[in-house]
């Protein structure tokens, strides 16, 4: 009986040590390959890390589903938004001619880019689905410029890890890793279904991240910040979403 107890104890000890070593190695590799989301702390850290790590491992080269013209939804929903701020209304009164887009952080050519400048870049379209975390969805044709083109124009430095993007509206900002930022379907969009992007859908300038849910596609974008560290933005959780109780990673 003593023998059995001792054997069990040793077995349990070895199993426990192996599990700990495995976890340590896993954490090291996950950090090395950027598999850990900025909101990995706290009660939901395990689930969020598994979600984001799976995303990074499985979808590296995947494209969001694209649709045909005939599959475009008749009426794209404009989700509820807070009343526009005074700053927004002023720019709207001027037909968005002075809409600013500043780019700062780890870029060689920081500064103010205008909406006209963004529109002068070669435009691309995509017919993709916007799916809300609430459950509803629509398909629209989005016109814009790939974010990678804008980042190239600004000269992103090699050690950049994230692009943080800000709405003109308060407390509305988000970030994506460089994999998503340079993804061919990540657009700064200014058109929808052949017309200017409506205000309700984020006009005049909206980020589109079609491999993630709608809330990752921030409306009324006026600033891009390229960084290697999200700690200095807000509470350091990567976006305003975790500060409001929502996950930073929104691919599910």
């Amino acid at each position: 009986m003593t023998d059995l107890t001792r054997r069990r104890l040793i077995t349990a000890g070895v199993a426990g040590a192996t599990a700990l070593a495995g976890l340590g190695a896993g954490a090291f590799l996950a950090r090395k390959y950027g598999l850990i989301p900025p909101d990995h702390g706290g009660l939901w850290g395990a689930g969020e890390t598994l979600n984001y790590a799976s995303y990074k491992l499985i979808t590296r080269h995947s494209l969001a589903r694209e649709f045909t013209r005939s599959e475009i939804s008749a009426r794209p929903v404009a989700n509820e938004i807070a009343p526009p701020s005074e700053a927004y209304l002023k720019l709207q009164a001027g037909g968005f001619a002075d809409w600013p887009l500043t780019i700062d952080g780890l870029v060689d050519r920081p500064g103010a880019y205008s909406l006209a400048q963004i529109k002068s870049y070669p435009s691309r379209t995509q017919i993709t689905q916007l799916a809300c975390e609430e459950g509803w969805s629509y398909v629209a044709e989005w016109t814009g410029v790939p974010l990678s083109y804008v980042l190239d124009a600004a000269g992103v430095q090699p050690h950049a890890k994230y692009v943080v993007y800000f709405s003109i509206e308060r407390d509305w900002w988000d970030s994506i890793d460089m994999g998503d930022a340079l993804h061919p379907q990540t657009f700064l969009t200014y058109g929808m279904n052949g017309a200017d992007l409506p205000v309700g859908n984020g006009g005049p300038l909206r980020m589109r991240v079609p491999r993630q849910l709608g809330y990752k596609s921030v409306k009324f974008v006026t600033r891009l910040a390229v960084t290697d560290n999200l700690k200095s933005f807000g509470k350091g959780l990567g976006s305003a979403s975790p500060e409001g109780g929502y996950a930073w990673y929104a691919g599910i």
């Binding site: 689930g47 609430e134 491999r211």
Partner: protein, 258 residues
């Protein structure tokens, strides 16, 4: 097989031998007990968070797209946590989607990993083959019909029944384990824009994102019905002894109703 006479002789003998011995016999293995209670916790976590998420848009659609501007397949007559949804109620519930979504996915991971451990260990140990696959003599529609009829007559389970799953139980558990839970996982992942980017067929085979969502709801309702009937049957067969058996693995014999 609620009828004592129809219980297989080997099980009856084994149950009687167990009853005669002083040591409490083992009814459920540690694998079954541990995974059972993890699944119970996960199921409740997924149910609560799933209901909360559903409340933000209690409308269902068929096909690829659906929203407040398109007609619904059906709408649940409940209030919503979003202003945009017309519910007929004069108020809007508080938004609970943040923690609900965190809880939903973290619990889904726990359930899926537990499910993998259960399936692999259950296959290797023979648990699935011995305890869940219908016995050779039982593998007929007639036997299934008799088992259902016995349940519908609310016949008391026999002593032998307490030591083995009856046919209807086996078939139900197999459907829950190999059809409903996999369907939940599939339809859930088919709603992920990232997962469907990597595996477009996962949503296209179903007929679209909104179809996946509606099937996710129906599969969840089926699981809730199973849960209610399951707890009801445990109550009927003897709540204390059956629950004790699922916690400690052992139970006093003979069980209630024998």
């Amino acid at each position: 097989m609620a009828d004592k006479r129809s219980a297989p002789a080997d099980i009856r003998q084994w149950a009687e031998a167990q009853a005669a011995s002083d040591v409490l016999p083992v009814r459920h293995s540690a694998l079954v007990r541990i995974t059972h209670w993890i699944v119970v916790l996960s199921f409740l976590g997924l149910l609560v968070s799933g209901v909360e998420i559903l409340i933000s848009h209690p409308r269902f659609y068929w096909g690829e797209n659906g929203n407040v501007l398109t007609p619904a397949l059906f709408q649940l007559p409940i209030p919503s946590s979003r202003v945009l949804v017309q519910t007929g109620y004069g108020y809007v519930l508080p938004d609970q989607n943040g923690w609900s979504r965190y809880l939903h996915f973290q619990t889904a991971w726990l359930l899926v990993l537990t499910g993998f451990v259960y399936l692999i260990a259950g296959f290797v140990s023979g648990h699935l083959r011995q305890h869940l696959l219908p016995r050779g003599s039982d593998a007929s529609w007639l036997a299934l019909w008799r088992s259902m009829a016995a349940h519908l007559r609310f016949e008391r389970p026999s002593a032998a029944d307490a030591w083995s799953y009856n046919l209807l139980q086996r078939v139900t558990y197999l459907i829950v384990i190999f059809a409903l839970f996999p369907l939940m996982l599939w339809t859930g992942l088919a709603m992920s824009p990232a997962f469907t980017a990597a595996f477009p067929a996962s949503v296209e085979w179903l007929g679209g994102r909104q179809t996946a969502r509606t099937l996710h709801f129906f599969a969840a309702v089926s699981l809730v019905l199973f849960f209610i009937v399951h707890v009801g049957m445990v109550w009927f067969a003897g709540f204390r002894s059956r629950t004790r058996a699922m916690i400690t693995g052992r139970t006093h014999t003979p069980l209630e109703g024998a």
